[in-house]
């Protein structure tokens, strides 16, 4: 499409800086900031109510921030730039009584496309997302999965220069998850910064270049998966043929869990791996002794759920 060529030339970086928002006495956001480079897939992770949706709504201008700003390409975001954002709100919504095609054409035109371009773009995305035979049906008559596809098409139909997607994977069937992942990667490959929130951490881990974790309205970690997991504490996986509980008294060691074959341990900084090994050998035959990297889920649990900030 001609539009693509035109837009890939513009490579925006998006900066969110110092966002604050309160509702009465409740602090929803406190100095939230992160940067998403051009062509970067940025995962936005946090518990329910941590401030993801509020941050995204502020990025879209749907909500006003009390302080802080959103910059695109170094300049504060304005109405015109916002029209170039593809947005998928957490609360999905389309006109129930409009047909798929009319809906997409309408949204494309609201974003400034000409009638012709709007029709072309709508048809393209309808074909791409496999809803061609449903294009003249009212939205309310579609299955939930197909409604989600239309919702994605609605976010993409005006060929956005920046994507902000709130929980784009929730409610998708496995096929649609793959389609969605492909589309996000493709848009990123075109140089579009992509911000999306998700509770499916495995997906975030697989897709994202970088991620940010938010807790109680404040960012607690921002970086690549490698950076974040490497910075976390050392973790050991030790298999011992012996009585459980052997590691309980080793200094600087915390038992994280037991996966049946082996005990999972977390070492405090400067704790001695060799002391752990000696304790294990004392307990019984050691079948396995390895260091492993924390998964994103564990990292998330550490940072968010248990509140043990690094």
């Amino acid at each position: 499409m001609a539009l693509d060529a035109q837009h890939t030339a513009v490579r925006y970086a998006v900066e969110v800086a110092g966002l604050c928002k309160r509702y009465g006495d409740v602090v929803a956001l406190n100095d939230v900031g992160f940067t998403v480079g051009p062509g970067e897939l940025f995962g936005f992770v946090g518990s329910n109510g941590a401030g993801k949706t509020t941050t995204m709504r502020i990025m879209l201008g749907v909500l006003a921030a009390d302080a802080g700003e959103v910059r695109v390409g170094g300049t504060p975001i304005d109405r015109e730039t916002r029209a170039r954002i593809g947005y998928m709100p957490e609360e999905r919504g389309l006109y129930p009584k409009m047909t798929v095609r009319d809906q997409l054409v309408y949204l494309a035109r609201l974003h400034g496309l000409s009638t012709n371009d709007a029709h072309t773009a709508a048809e393209n995305w309808i074909r791409r997302l496999g809803i061609t035979d449903r294009r003249d049906d009212e939205i309310q008559k579609l299955s939930l999965g197909n409604q989600q596809r239309v919702q994605l098409a609605a976010a993409l139909v005006h060929d956005p220069a920046l994507l902000v997607l709130d929980e784009p994977f929730s409610g998708l069937d496995p096929v649609a998850v793959d389609v969605m992942s492909e589309v996000l990667k493709e848009k990123a490959a075109q140089g579009v910064p992509v911000v999306f929130s998700s509770h499916q951490l495995a997906l975030v881990e697989r897709l994202c270049d970088r991620l940010g974790i938010i807790r109680d309205g404040a960012m607690v970690a921002v970086g690549s998966i490698e950076e974040l997991t490497a910075a976390a504490t050392t973790r050991l996986r030790v298999g011992v043929d012996g009585a459980p509980g052997w590691a309980d008294d080793v200094a600087g060691v915390r038992v994280v869990g037991d996966d049946g074959d082996a005990t999972l341990l977390e070492l405090a900084q400067h704790a001695d791996e060799q002391a752990v090994l000696r304790a294990a050998m004392a307990a019984g035959r050691v079948t396995e002794f390895s260091r492993y990297r924390a998964t994103l889920a564990e990292l998330f649990r550490n940072v968010v759920v248990e509140g043990t900030a690094q």
Binding site: L60, V62, R82, L94, Y106, L110
Partner: protein
């Protein structure tokens, strides 16, 4: 910026004009009006026409009776009766109203139940003249017919203080119909605005829209779009009604009708904009269609009270103090003023004042309604308190 308003308005217009309910609704209302006109026609057509049969000697009187009746504005149809038995049957089944026989001086009238009193007066007068002419001739007056003609030519001279009052009934009818149509249009399409706002909230599509356009653009576009649909329907119905009534001769005041239509359209726009902002603001307070009725009732109530009270006051005396005062109250003038314009003569200053007050109220209400809408449109869940929505 304005293109966003145009796009929103266009969507509302196209989507709503395309629904079958718009067409069906419009046709049903036109059909009801056509039925009303036909009813009026049958009243006017059947009421005064009397069919009189003349038998025997009386046959020669038919022309004089017809002339005398025409002079008194009585519509008669005359026939000659040959067979009296058949004529009696015709009287029984109502296809004849009276059978006249005998001479002019001694008329005998056969009727089913009773003789129409006006017809009786015509026939009696004719009979008296006949007797009088004969007596004058007997008394030796040289030219009794000339005397009778002179006597008959005598007329009272009538001066009307308020000419055209015969047309008042028609004007009042036009006014009442206009008031009714305006009330219906403003109420229906105002409710559509509220339902549209709630639909966007309940389907959550409003968040996508507001990520692209501003709240005021969405609201203004919606009001313009729905308002135009209502205007199209109102003008179509009123024009069809006027055309039907003129064609059927029920309505003879075409200039009053046309000016009522034009003023009706103007006042529809004023009234719709006034109430649309109220309806939109109220609709924005709730997130579900089920809750909509409770917030819309107060707005509808104002409209209904204005309509019912105004209509009564107008029918009693369209030019009275009550009607004049009420038609100046901003929330009521859109319904009452056009009714008064049709039914009576409204002073220019009254019209100007009413339009001015309404415009000022529109500005105020649009500001408040827009503010409520702006603050409440993204609020989901329970009904939002009005004070909270105004504060923001």
């Amino acid at each position: 910026m304005t293109s966003a308003v145009r796009l929103v308005a266009q969507r509302e217009l196209v989507l709503r004009l395309r629904t079958k309910w718009f067409l069906i609704g419009t046709l049903v209302i036109v059909a009801i009006m056509a039925g009303y006109v036909l009813l009026q026609m049958s009243f006017f057509g059947g009421e005064d026409r009397s069919r009189i049969g003349f038998a025997g000697q009386a046959t020669g009187l038919s022309e004089r009776v017809a002339d005398a009746a025409a002079e008194l504005d009585i519509d008669v149809e005359t026939t000659t009766v040959v067979d009296l038995t058949a004529a009696k049957a015709d009287l029984s089944d109502g296809s004849l109203d009276a059978v006249v026989s005998g001479t002019a001086a001694e008329m005998r009238v056969l009727v089913k139940e009773e003789l129409n009193p006006r017809l009786r007066a015509v026939l009696t007068e004719l009979s008296r003249q006949e007797v009088l002419t004969a007596k004058l001739a007997q008394a030796g007056v040289p030219d009794p017919t000339a005397v009778m003609a002179e006597a008959n030519a005598a007329r009272v001279d009538v001066t009307a203080i308020d000419p055209g009052s015969a047309a008042d009934d028609q004007r009042l009818a036009i006014g009442v119909i206009m008031v009714f149509l305006l009330f219906m249009s403003i109420n229906t399409y105002g409710t559509f605005v509220a339902q549209g706002v709630v639909e966007e909230k309940s389907s959550r599509v409003v968040e996508i829209l507001l990520a692209t356009i501003r709240p005021w653009q969405l609201l203004l576009g919606k009001i313009i779009g729905i308002g135009l649909v209502g205007l199209i329907q109102l003008v179509a119905i009123a024009a069809a009604g006027i055309a039907l009534a003129l064609a059927a001769d029920v309505l003879t005041l075409s200039s009053v009708a046309v000016s009522t239509l034009v003023w009706g359209a103007i006042w529809y726009l004023l009234g719709f904009f006034l109430y649309a902002a109220l309806f939109a603001g109220s609709g924005a307070l709730v997130s579900r269609q089920e809750d909509a009725q409770s917030v819309l009732t107060p707005v509808t109530l104002v409209l209904v009270v204005g309509f019912v009270a105004g209509l009564n006051v107008m029918i009693v005396d369209a030019d009275g103090v009550a009607a004049r005062a009420m038609s100046l109250v901003p929330l009521l003038s859109p319904v009452l003023m056009p009714g008064r314009i049709a039914a009576s003569d409204v002073a220019v200053w009254e019209l100007a004042l009413a339009i001015g007050l309404t415009l000022a109220t529109i500005a105020l209400v649009t500001y408040l309604g827009g503010r409520i809408y702006h603050n409440a449109v993204l609020h989901t869940g329970s009904r939002m308190k009005l004070t909270a929505a105004l504060r923001g």
